[in-house]
């Protein structure tokens, strides 16, 4: 059976043409029929076109242009000038960037560890069924869906530095404080971290809860028969069962931490005294406030390389572990 016969739609169109103009045109019609079939190759691309066009414009061209900009002195309307690796030298030698990179790493590490530890604890404490439990879990999850801008404005008010601020009065009840929170260089970083954990832990909790359902119940029974205590059971059965969840959450949270912008921008904008300046707030200031787009782009490329290395390393570790 020929290909043309397999396609019923092609036959009526080819039919009349063949009859009317005889043999030579018949060949043409046959070719047209073939084109029609061959034309099918572009059907998937037609369906993909909107996505690919949008990705091209807003992901791939920006990525390439971030790379080129990082080697240029970008001057709108005047034309860009190639400067080689000068931007990278500027970035890497500036104390501001090094400090921002350190702050970013500290913040990312703290938020990742804090969110995962608290998230796991919450998941273990609230695993199971029941309407009341479902309600508590939903309520605990709310911070995740609240827009980050709202979270920042709310915590700004809660972090009010006088002793009658909301969190300070709670600290006062247990005999601490008052803390300057985001207004004090000594506690500003920790305060942003706490806000991040508040929003990150419930997310991690949900993922851990999903992972917990796949842990073999038979192993729990076996552990019980062997006389293992609850904590031993969690440590020797549950935690190993969640290994893949740990590594996925780690990658997600670490990347989220490295690219942190909005909460820092709104809570402290890098202050006080640059104590919370992170890479993204610095890039924003370099690029859009001081118009040093080339230097900003170099910083962004370095940040990208850092996230890439982190992802690859975790994947490699995972692969080695599963072997």
């Amino acid at each position: 059976m020929s290909l043309d016969q397999a396609d019923p739609a092609a036959l009526p169109a080819a039919g009349p043409a063949t009859r009317k103009t005889g043999r030579a045109a018949g060949g043409a019609a046959g070719r047209r029929g073939h084109d029609r079939r061959a034309g099918r190759w572009w059907t998937p691309w037609l369906f993909l076109a909107p996505a690919l066009l949008l990705f091209l414009y807003f992901k791939f061209i920006p990525m390439v242009s971030a790379l080129t900009m990082s080697f240029q002195d970008v001057q709108p309307y005047l034309g860009n000038r190639w400067v080689g690796t000068e931007n990278y030298a500027t970035v890497l030698q500036s104390d501001g960037f090094r400090e921002a990179a350190w702050h970013t790493v500290v913040l990312a590490a703290g938020q990742t560890a804090g969110s995962m530890a608290l998230g796991l604890a919450l998941a273990l404490l609230m695993e199971g069924q029941g309407r009341r439990l479902g309600f508590v879990r939903s309520a605990a999850f709310l911070p995740v869906v609240v827009p980050i801008a709202v979270v920042a404005e709310l915590w700004r008010i809660m972090y009010h530095p006088t002793s009658d601020g909301m969190l300070n009065s709670i600290l006062g009840l247990v005999g601490f404080g008052p803390s300057g929170f985001i207004n004090d260089p000594d506690s500003s970083m920790a305060s942003i971290m706490v806000t991040g954990i508040w929003r990150g832990a419930p997310y991690d909790m949900m993922i851990f809860l999903a992972g917990l359902t796949s842990v073999d119940r038979g192993l729990y029974e076996a552990a019980k028969v062997d006389g293992a205590s609850r904590l031993q059971r969690v440590w020797h059965v549950t935690v190993p069962g969640l290994r893949s969840v740990f590594s996925i959450l780690f990658i997600l949270a670490a990347i989220r931490g490295l690219r942190v912008f909005t909460e820092v921008f709104l809570l402290t904008n890098g202050g006080p005294d640059g104590s919370t300046e992170v890479v993204m707030t610095l890039i924003y200031k370099l690029g859009l406030e001081q118009n040093r787009l080339g230097v900003g782009a170099a910083g962004a490329v370095l940040l990208f390389i850092a996230t890439l290395i982190l992802t690859v390393v975790v994947h490699l570790l995972r692969r080695r572990e599963s072997k």
Binding site: P8, P76, L125, I255
Partner: protein, 288 residues
């Protein structure tokens, strides 16, 4: 302890008095820590609050003054901007995702692996890193030379294609039985009809997932609107919160009222589509 062990810690099944108390304390603490601040936001939005120290979870005289002042400050226009962006953004994102998902799930063609790798690459690429070049490109789109800076369109089109939604659609569309499609093809249906009348109607659960995630993702945007907007006429509500706070004439109560308006849509969407949300969250994250 003869009950079957259903959970790791065994706390949920515990019926002993100690277990009950531990459970109650845990739940209460979780509610206070995670829902408490949001309750304070809710109460403050409806209270006369002159300075930040008065933020409280205890209601003290209900009032709508905060909302009235917020509306005087143009919050309604910001809210409408936000709705415009999320409405058209979600429409575009869902349309783009189902079309791309159809091609990736139901077709085999040379270059498919490359496309999949490219989509995965966009997911690995944090959008923050592209912020600077994106702002340059939006001011003069290559080839067509549109300037989208200062327009709401500039906050919408960059979100039109989202790798997550495309992959969710692709995975789901793969599971639609071949026989249905073949039957339709024998009846003479083309790709467009098969897509619209056979595949798409069977993907309602996946549409729920990408709808909910797309909504939350677009509603939570901050950096993109910040790059695109030039003045307050194109602010979305999250952006406007900062402007409101900086204004010395505006009390924290007003900021909280505007914040409440900014968080309600996403919380409502979450509560109504909780199942889609949790489903997408766990399947999306655990597949990787």
């Amino acid at each position: 302890m003869n009950a079957p062990t259903e959970t790791a810690l065994g706390l949920t099944e515990s019926r002993s008095p100690g277990g009950r108390i531990l459970k109650a304390v845990t739940y209460l603490l979780v509610l206070i820590v995670f829902a408490g601040p949001l309750l304070a936001l809710l109460v403050s939005a409806f209270s006369h609050i002159k300075d930040p120290t008065q933020l409280s979870v205890i209601p003290s005289g209900a009032t709508l003054d905060n909302f009235r002042i917020a509306f005087d400050q143009g919050v309604l226009a910001y809210l409408l901007n936000s709705f415009f962006v999320v409405g058209f953004g979600l429409l575009l994102q869902v349309a783009v995702s189902v079309l791309a998902g159809y091609a990736l799930a139901r077709k085999r063609f040379p270059g498919m692996t490359l496309v999949l790798v490219a989509i995965l690459a966009t997911l690995m690429l944090p959008e923050e890193i592209l912020a600077l070049p994106l702002s340059v490109i939006l001011s003069d789109l290559p080839v067509v030379h549109f300037n989208l800076i200062g327009t709401l369109a500039g906050m919408i089109v960059p979100l039109g294609a989202w790798g997550f939604s495309i992959l969710v659609m692709t995975e789901f569309m793969k599971d639609v039985p071949r026989e249905l499609e073949e039957a339709a093809r024998i009846d003479g249906a083309g790709d467009l009809r098969i897509f619209a009348q056979i595949i798409l109607p069977m993907c309602k659960p996946a549409l729920g997932v990408i709808g909910v995630f797309g909504f939350t993702m677009i509603w939570d945007q901050y950096l993109l609107p910040l790059l695109v907007s030039t003045d307050s006429s194109s602010y979305t509500l999250p952006l406007a919160l900062r402007t409101l706070r900086i204004d010395p004439a505006v009390t924290p109560g007003v900021v909280m009222a505007a914040s409440l308006l900014a968080l309600l849509p996403s919380v409502i969407v979450f509560l109504f589509f909780q199942r889609s949300f949790v489903h997408g969250l766990s399947s999306g994250a655990l597949k990787g």
